[in-house]
C-alpha cells in the first residue's frame, strides 16, 4: 500500500527540527531511516501530516566516549554498530545485537534512535537498553533531559518523548573488564521480529547482575540482582517470573524458558 499524504522535511540541524516539531503540534513526527515507521506509514497505521527527517543531522550521527559511558547519536545506523565503527565498550554485545536486527539492507538505513523511539516491544534495542539500564537523551527547545530506559518506555509503541522533543542520543554504560553477557532470541526466520528474547549482563565491578525477558506483545521485563537472576536457573523460578509478567500460554512459556536457558548457558560459557 501507499502512505497517506504527508510532507517530508529533511533537517540540517536540531534547531530546525525542534522548531518544526513544536509547530507541528503532534502531527509532525520525527523520523530516522524510516525502517520501522515506513511500514507503519505504508500500511496507513500511522498518518502524520509531516515527517521531520533527523537522519542527516550531523550532531545526531556522532559518537562520544567518557570514563563511564558511550553516547551513541540517535541517527547512528545499526550497520555502523554491527561493523564495529563505535568503540566497543560492551565486550561485543552491541555489535552482536546490531547484526541480528532485521536484514543488512534494513540495518544500513535503520537507526538506533528510530528503533528506540518506535518502541516496538520485539525490537532488539528496546530489550537491550532495558538490560543495560541505558539513559536516553531528549532534546527540546527549552533544554535537554535524560531519562532512564525504565522510565522511557511507557508501553508498546509508547515513550515519554513529547511532541516538541526529539531523541538525540542513548548513553550506554561501559562494561568492566570482567563483565559477561548473553543475548538470545527466537525467530522462525532470521530477521523476523523475535517471539522471545532473553538477555543477561553480569558485571561484578559495577555491581550488576541482571536479566531481561522480551516478548512481542508487552514491554521487556527486567530481573535485577543476584538472587532473582539465580532463581531463573530453576524451572520454578522461571515459572514464577512468567506468571508475574502474565505470559500464560503454554507455547509462549516454553519459548521464553528455552531462550532463558540458552542465554544462561551462554553466560556461563562467556569467553571460554
Amino acid at each position: 500500500m501507499k502512505p497517506a499524504p504527508f510532507e517530508f522535511i529533511g533537517c540540517r540541524d536540531t534547531a530546525q527540527a525542534l522548531a518544526l516539531l513544536a509547530a507541528g503540534d503532534g502531527r509532525a513526527w520525527p523520523c530516522g531511516g524510516t525502517q520501522s515507521l515506513g511500514p507503519m506509514l505504508n500500511l496507513r497505521l500511522a498518518q502524520p501530516s509531516q515527517l521531520i527527517d533527523l537522519s542527516r543531522i550531523e550532531a545526531l550521527r556522532e559518537v562520544s566516549l567518557n570514563d563511564d559511558m558511550l553516547r551513541i547519536g540517535a541517527a547512528v545506523t545499526h550497520a555502523r554498530i554491527e561493523d564495529g565503527e563505535l568503540p566497543d565498550v560492551t565486550r561485543g554485545l552491541l555489535p552482536a545485537v546490531a547484526g541480528g536486527i532485521a536484514y543488512r539492507a534494513v540495518r544500513n538505513r535503520g537507526t538506533i534512535g528510530g528503533s528506540l523511539a518506535h518502541a516496538d516491544p520485539a525490537a532488539d534495542w528496546v530489550s537491550t537498553m532495558r538490560l543495560l539500564d541505558a539513559r536516553l537523551l531528549l532534546l527540546a527547545a527549552a533544554g535537554e533531559r535524560r531519562v532512564g530506559a525504565a522510565q522511557f518506555f511507557v508501553g508498546p509503541l509508547g515513550t515519554v518523548i513529547r511532541h516538541d522533543e526529539l531523541l538525540a542520543a542513548v548513553e550506554v554504560p561501559r562494561f568492566s573488564a570482567g563483565a559477561r553477557w548473553a543475548y538470545r532470541k527466537l525467530c522462525r526466520k532470521p530477521g523476523e521480529f523475535a517471539q522471545a528474547i532473553a538477555g543477561c549482563w553480569v558485571d561484578p565491578a559495577r555491581g550488576v547482575m541482571r536479566a531481561v525477558l522480551g516478548a512481542p506483545d508487552r514491554m521487556p521485563h527486567v530481573v535485577d540482582g543476584q538472587p532473582a537472576v539465580d532463581a531463573l536457573r530453576h524451572s520454578r523460578g522461571v515459572a514464577r517470573v512468567l506468571d508475574e509478567i502474565g505470559i500464560t500460554e503454554a507455547y509462549a512459556r516454553e519459548l521464553h524458558t528455552a531462550m532463558l536457558r540458552r542465554a544462561l548457558a551462554d553466560l556461563d560459557a562467556f569467553g571460554t
Binding site: 501507499k2 527527517d53 543488512r104 534494513v106
Partner: protein
C-alpha cells in the same frame, strides 16, 4: 510536490516527488527504471533492494525525498559491473531464478555478500539471504550461484 535531485546510476536525475513517494515508486514512475520491483512494500521481501550510498537498502520504505543528493544504484546501473556480470552468469548456470521477480533484489544482495563477506559459507549466505524472498527456486540455486562466484579465484571483492 518537491523537486528531488538524485545521482542515479552515475547520472544526475531531477524529478518531482510527493513527500510520501517511496524511492522505489520514484525510480519506477518518474525515472522509468522498472528493474526495481515492489513486492511487500513493508521491507520484508527484498524485491525493491537497491544501493543507496553504495550499500543495499529497501527502496519501498525509504522515501525519495530522504535521498536528496545521494548516489543511488539500481539493477540497471550494474550492466558494466564485472562482479555483477559473474553473478548474472552464475544465476543462469545454477537456476537461481525462474519468474525473475525477486532477481534484481537478489542480485544486489548477492553483490553485497560477495563484497562484504568474501569468506561466507553456505550457512552465512542463507542467513544473509533471509531478507530476500524467492517463491520459485527454493533458494538452492541462489545459494549455489553465490558460492560459485565466491569460489572463483580473483573475484573483485
Amino acid at each position: 510536490m518537491t523537486l528531488i535531485s538524485l545521482h542515479v546510476n552515475g547520472r544526475d536525475r531531477r524529478a518531482e516527488a510527493e513527500g510520501r513517494c517511496s524511492l522505489a515508486d520514484h525510480l519506477r514512475e518518474q525515472l522509468g527504471l522498472t528493474g526495481t520491483h515492489l513486492g511487500c512494500e513493508h521491507g520484508v521481501c527484498g524485491a525493491c533492494t537497491v544501493q543507496i550510498d553504495g550499500a543495499p537498502a529497501r527502496s519501498c520504505i525509504t522515501f525519495a525525498a530522504a535521498c536528496e543528493g545521494r548516489p543511488i544504484r539500481t539493477i540497471e546501473g550494474f550492466d558494466d559491473d564485472p562482479l555483477m556480470a559473474r553473478l548474472r552468469e552464475a544465476f543462469s548456470a545454477e537456476h537461481a531464478l525462474q519468474c525473475g521477480y525477486c532477481t534484481p533484489g537478489m542480485l544486489i544482495t548477492a553483490h553485497d555478500i560477495v563484497r562484504r563477506l568474501p569468506w561466507a559459507d553456505e550457512a552465512r549466505i542463507r542467513f544473509e539471504l533471509a531478507g530476500n524472498l524467492c517463491r520459485c527456486t527454493g533458494y538452492r540455486g541462489i545459494v549455489r550461484a553465490i558460492q560459485r562466484v565466491l569460489a572463483e579465484a580473483g573475484h573483485a571483492a
